[in-house]
Subunit: 405 residues, 2 copies
């Protein structure tokens, strides 16, 4: 396997002002084609440090990638340092200069004179088109080794990595056959998956990785041999089929959002412990107004009675966190909004408010589908915010599972 | 200034499964005491790689910090590698073992036998208490140099860094006098702040840094000379006083949360384009049920009329995104919930739905304080989610500003 090293250049990362998402993005993209980073170094944008680091890393790697420091201002030291390290002079490239001028023209902006230096490129280097900024990427081939430099702005870097770096590495280094599938589950803990699939062993050709998120676990299967790869996926699916909600980029909220649009049905939501999170998650998607009519956050008992017609008797006898209350919330909210579907949640997010009988993490989640009501009881663990997140995602999933056609 | 290097150990960071927030956290904590990281390296958890990297970095640094790989399982290689690098044997520490047994006992869990290795420590190393896990941190002093190892789990590492590493470095390395203050603003762009304070120059002893967040900008002033430091802060405050909402760790949502608890007043919220986000932000705080009665997300016009008594005439004449509609939402929501205060928001979060007259980013935000109504018009830029965030935070701030005593 080739050795790929990443150097991220920028004081702001070392000072903790910026999280190094460039590292995680490039790491993920390489994984998708069966490659991976050997190491990653973050350094200050000072010329002597960049050159020293290049000196050290270039020797040890087959491919070196840098991000950051390609801008036109005085504190952008990367391009100068690269030219010095590879002992190349700069040459002015008309084509790049024209591209930059067009970019400014399209935005109706005047070009600052300093930007002209962006068209200066070390001799022998290819440039990589930057659709969203003025700094082109750089690519240099030296015998069997490859050097790439990208800007540090994530939106610019990401496009260039996807359009240029990944296809290049795929073409030149990817194992002839590489297969990747992520199985996405909800409602089962990582430890329980491990237990269920414990007799399914990784092989030399097929690897497994678990990626947990609040309430969900993804299982990434990657392999070089298609038969072994398919066999292992089949076997895993059989062991945990009831917990699988999708594959690869699938996302429960987006799946539900699309399903509601496709079905041309409307939705309303009644939230207690999730405090508006479910509605917030739907409305993050453009187009949610096609189905989402609105909802109520009934934090107090009065609100549950006033706005959702929950009976005082029910609250007194069973409490606000109970199957009975959620059932009445589901009837009340659907009637209020005249929606086809409704979701309702009531629980104890903590850290206070729990009792022996009703501990922190106890949550009742229900759906009302044109009058048909289902309510489920959950016991979640975690912080207040994690319990809110798990409740919200399970509420959305309960609807999706029951309406999916 | 001392040279501090960080080594984060873990395949999951290089594979992009985890974002390296340990780097940004440690970077920030060091900055607060006037120190900073010289470099950060991320490597795989393989023994030969850890030892090679230590060899290289220890030589070049005054202080080396590692995170990750301190767990008890086979793929946790850090402790063994450290012992090998510093050429120390392991010794069993009874005290640590007792602590671990107590931790398991308090959780009512059985100790897996493998955990016993956590009490083995390289000779001559101090241990650092881990309140939230079984792996103690490690500290080794060698002449004037210091080596620290922390677990990779952020919640465990953070406490240990705050309780042990930072006080130690402060005591031993902090410049005699170091001053830090963060001025927090809302409602003014970074470029506009720069313009207003452009004649306030950084000096050799006092530095300025801008940290933008959606809708807010923090200005961090750090300095070694108290007179210059105070003068610069005074001058900045004079130029932008109307936009300052707080200092250092102040957070608008938390300030408003505390103010409402102190005033013993109640709150209800009516949201349209923010889709539940404002209510979600309040309910992330434990204790919000003391003041937050609930609210309505009125995404459709019908919901605005049905639940908030917005008049059809008003919606027809002025539209859902208008000062008049928000005024009626404010009256309706306060009446419905019988709350002391209310917040209401209506706007166009985009990316679609804008018109020439009412473009994406146009948002009306209002508050009702015991009958006194204020509505303000905003034009936000950004993505759908950024516009939601800016609207929510400005809604909460509009209330805070007007009720603060």
């Amino acid at each position: 396997m080739i050795k790929i090293s990443l150097i991220t250049i920028g004081d702001e990362i070392l000072l903790g002002k910026t999280v190094n998402t460039n590292l995680s993005f490039i790491g993920q993209e390489l994984t998708k084609i069966g490659l991976s980073l050997s190491q990653s170094v973050t350094i200050k944008d000072e010329s002597n440090i960049i050159i020293k680091t290049l000196n050290d890393i270039w020797r040890k790697s087959d491919t070196v990638i840098t991000t950051g420091g390609l801008g036109p201002t005085n504190d952008d030291m990367t391009k100068k340092s690269i030219a010095e390290f590879f002992n190349k002079e700069f040459e002015f490239r008309e084509k790049i200069w024209t591209d930059i001028k067009n970019l400014y023209k399209s935005k109706n902006m005047k070009i600052p004179s300093i930007v002209r230096t962006q068209a200066e490129v070390p001799k022998g280097f290819k440039t990589i088109e930057n659709k969203f900024g003025t700094a082109p990427g750089l690519h240099f081939q030296d015998n069997n080794k490859n050097f790439f430099a990208f800007p540090g702005v994530p939106s610019e870097m990401k496009e260039m990595v996807k359009d240029y770096l990944i296809p290049f590495l795929k073409e030149n280094y990817q194992t002839k056959s590489f297969y990747l599938k992520t199985i996405k589950t909800i409602g089962i803990l990582e430890a329980e998956i491990s237990e269920r699939v414990k007799d399914i062993k990784e092989t030399k050709n097929v690897h497994l990785a678990y990626l947990p998120q609040p309430g969900m676990v993804s299982i990434r299967v990657s392999g070089k041999n298609i038969e072994e790869f398919n066999t292992i996926i089949d076997r895993i699916e059989k062991k945990i089929s009831e917990f699988i909600y999708g594959y690869n980029e699938d996302n429960i909220i987006e799946l539900c959002h699309k399903e509601l649009i496709n079905q041309k049905k409307t939705l309303s939501v009644a939230e207690s412990c999730t405090g508006g999170l479910i509605q917030n998650l739907f409305t993050n998607y453009s187009g949610s107004s096609q189905y989402f009519l609105g909802g109520v956050v009934s934090y107090s008992n009065e609100a549950k009675m006033q706005l959702l017609n929950v009976k005082e008797k029910t609250l007194k006898r069973y409490g606000a966190v109970s199957e009975q209350t959620v059932e009445e919330m589901l009837r009340g909210i659907r009637e209020k909004f005249q929606s086809d579907y409704s979701i309702a949640v009531s629980g104890i997010a903590g850290p206070t408010g729990g009792t022996l009988e009703k501990p922190v993490g106890l949550v009742f989640i229900g759906v009302n589908m044109e009058g048909k009501i289902i309510v489920k009881r959950f016991n979640f663990s975690g912080t207040r915010i994690q319990i809110k997140e798990k409740s919200a995602i399970n509420g959305i999933y309960l609807l999706l599972k029951n309406i999916k056609m």
